[in-house]
């Protein structure tokens, strides 16, 4: 005679329902909030949909997708083996015009100036008891460059990948809220109204030579980050040489979409309750915010100094774009500028420091990896 009660109990024990913890439920709620922000509020849906959904699935006991042999586990191998971040850069390079950076070399310095936040967060993390390698990974959040943060973290402190990647991407999505108050606090109304001179025309030949020269420089002087920058520049060369349009189109659209999906799922799959719901996560998120605020501030202050030295020709609002996060930070400079003067189009001017910020983050990360012996 079949005991239905016993049978039901045995079936129930096989489901994830009996093994679910409070931590799992909290993480499922966090995943759901990410989905809401991505789909409902349209905050970086390309990132938040994949991360949020994988976070939910990973925290359902028994799903096994993030366990060894599961599909998300294989997606994570692309991160662990450092394959996905350079491929993201390949796509980004193919969709980016480096003309604004080539046109105005003096503004390139803002790409380094806006990275003070990296070092403030690094020192803060060290003071709070993190190891130096962990502190460097936390600091690089201030570089506002997702693939670079992942790349550095995987080499220095892979156990912090979920917290660091979530903090980096979340703050990048929130830059339109974080940066404007800092920018307004550090500039006068008159400075924000400055209209900058039109940048010079950059020829096709210059745009073709640029990636080749950067590849040589980075491979020669900064080998730890050469895979990332080489792929960024390869993508850009595909775009600029005019002969490989189909390839450029594929890497900047189809390939970039596929890689982004795999990467976001891989990041979400690391957000297990036992790893994520810790005091460390809270500290990393606070330090990440500190890094973004100080990075924005140092960029604006440097741009103010450059404005004084140039006799009032540089709008200090473009300084904050040096933090990287292309093109979000440049767009923020433009929007804040337009609030003061509707006829002020800062986007092209801000793109120069913004693109230089990508190199600034890579240089900082490369130096860190070299100094720590990676």
């Amino acid at each position: 005679m079949i005991d239905f009660g016993e049978l039901m109990e045995a079936m129930l024990m096989q489901t994830g329902l009996m093994a679910i913890s409070v931590g799992n439920i909290i993480m499922i709620i966090i995943g759901a909030i990410m989905l809401y922000l991505g789909i409902g509020k349209k905050y970086e849906p390309f990132l938040l949909v994949g991360i949020g959904l994988a976070c939910i699935v990973t925290n359902i006991p028994g799903s096994g997708l993030a366990e060894a042999g599961g599909l998300f586990h294989y997606a994570y191998q692309g991160v662990e083996l450092l394959i996905l971040p350079p491929l993201i850069f390949l796509g980004v390079g193919a969709m980016t015009d480096f003309g604004p950076m080539i046109a105005n070399p003096s503004l390139v310095i803002l790409g380094a100036a806006a990275h003070l936040g990296i070092f403030i967060a690094l020192l803060g993390a060290k003071l709070l008891g993190f190891s130096l390698a962990e502190a460097c990974s936390i600091g690089i959040i201030g570089g506002a460059d997702g693939p670079m943060a992942i790349y550095t973290t995987m080499q220095l402190a892979p156990h912090l990948l979920p917290q660091i990647s979530v903090a980096a991407y979340s703050y990048m999505a929130l830059m339109p809220l974080i940066q404007p108050p800092v920018m307004k606090f550090l500039t006068t109304k008159k400075e924000r109204q400055i209209i900058m001179k039109q940048p010079r025309y950059v020829s096709r030949l210059e745009k073709v030579v640029f990636p080749i020269i950067i590849i040589v420089i980075v491979n020669l002087f900064l080998p730890p980050v050469a895979p990332l920058i080489t792929m960024l520049m390869l993508g850009n060369l595909l775009r600029e040489c005019l002969l490989l349009d189909r390839m450029a189109e594929t890497v900047s659209n189809s390939l970039l979409n596929v890689i982004t999906l795999i990467l976001t799922v891989a990041i979400g799959s690391t957000m297990k309750a036992e790893n994520f719901l810790t005091e460390q996560t809270l500290l990393i998120i606070l330090l990440g915010l500190l890094a973004f605020v100080f990075g924005t501030a140092s960029g604006v202050i440097c741009a103010r100094i450059m404005n004084k030295l140039s006799g009032g020709k540089i709008n200090p609002l473009i300084g904050s774009a040096g933090i990287a996060s292309v093109p979000i930070a440049a767009r923020v400079s433009h929007i804040v500028g337009q609030e003061e003067n509707k006829n002020n189009f800062l986007i092209m001017h801000a793109m120069g420091p913004n693109l230089a910020g990508v190199f600034g983050t890579a240089i900082s990360g490369g130096i860190m990896l070299a100094l720590l012996g990676h």
Partner: protein, 49 residues
Amino acid sequence: MISDDLTGALSLSLIDFILSFVFIAGIGAILYLFPYINKLGEIKEEDKY
């Protein structure tokens, strides 16, 4: 190479921040020379494959 304490963190930050400026300034200096590349020739936009 660098000690895992606050002094090490401070040294690393200082070295990194200064070297970042040097590298970026180097890239900037190279970009100043870019207009001269145009003296070598030109790629016409209509030269598309």
